[in-house]
Symmetry: C2
Subunit: 150 residues, 2 copies
DNA sequence: TTGACTGCAAACGATTTGCAATTGC
DNA sequence: GCAATTGCAAATCGTTTGCAGTCAA
């Protein structure tokens, strides 16, 4: 999936990221900015391992544990989202606009989609009374067109 | 959460389960029926480990691997569903009627709820063209009333 | 009787941790 | 300079697997 942001937008979001780190009392390290930038630029939904492999050319000494630790830290501060899948490896994305996921059961690719109708609709009574809602994400499993061909 | 089924309903569902196993060519073992019955009776959403602990009094010799293996087998045959959460441990439920999940980020309890409006609504175009949909589940994260009190 | 299923123990993959060295502020 | 962060290696957790004995059909 190509970058959904223009160069300017990207720089702007990265600035916001730095600011958010400062406010949260997080140090702005090279590793952290690169991890976050990568999640923005390649808008697929990599696992920690995939992300690590992709970062190695740019940061030859980055360790897998740092990727894990960084993702966990950024997640705690709401800058990164852990995606709900039924797989063993966790997947991550830069938290930005609310959206939903289509996951292919065969190739495991995750595709984002928007569904404003759902974002604004009222919850049924039971759910509404359950507590305080933090996020509402729809996860659709199925077989993508590519996979159903073969 | 209490049993959502009456004694008669339960027996009926268990009979359907046995039939489904026979059709699928699965042997109806004591372990399998007990695992499935437990998922029906205690309609919370246990992990394999929790399920194993709970089954031990009734089946003192059942092993954790059997629980894992049985859940995997039943899942393959569509009799059990693996729940999408952002946790490390997988959670399971007896597959029955379509429904959605409320998950508390603190206590991790999963609550079912129904939302017919969503079940019948059309997907947005992009999602509709993506491929063949298998399941559409809404996962809502938040903090349940119990946890927000304390 | 026979192949599917189980229990055991050992292996495995994903993630986390303790520690000493390093780096941002 | 100091505390936060990193890289390394070792540990841990959840889950899977090989194998020999057991059990449903």
């Amino acid at each position: 999936m190509a970058t959904p942001y223009s160069q300017e937008q990207l720089e702007q979001i990265m600035e916001q990221f730095v600011t958010a780190c400062r406010i949260a009392g997080l140090k702005v390290t090279h590793q952290r900015t690169e991890i976050y930038r990568h999640l923005l630029v390649i808008a697929d939904h990599p696992s920690a391992e995939t992300l690590h492999k992709r970062l190695l050319p740019a940061l030859p000494s980055i360790s897998l544990d740092t990727v894990y630790r960084t993702l966990a830290t950024l997640e705690q501060h709401g800058l990164v989202t852990r995606i709900q899948t039924a797989e063993s490896q966790a997947r991550f994305e830069a938290a930005y606009k609310p959206h939903h996921h289509l996951i292919c059961s065969r190739c495991k690719q995750v595709m984002d989609f928007h569904w404003p109708a759902i974002d604004s609709i009222d919850l049924p009574e039971l759910a509404d009374q359950w507590g305080q809602i933090e996020s509402k994400t729809i996860v659709i499993y199925g077989v993508c067109k590519n996979c159903s061909k073969s």
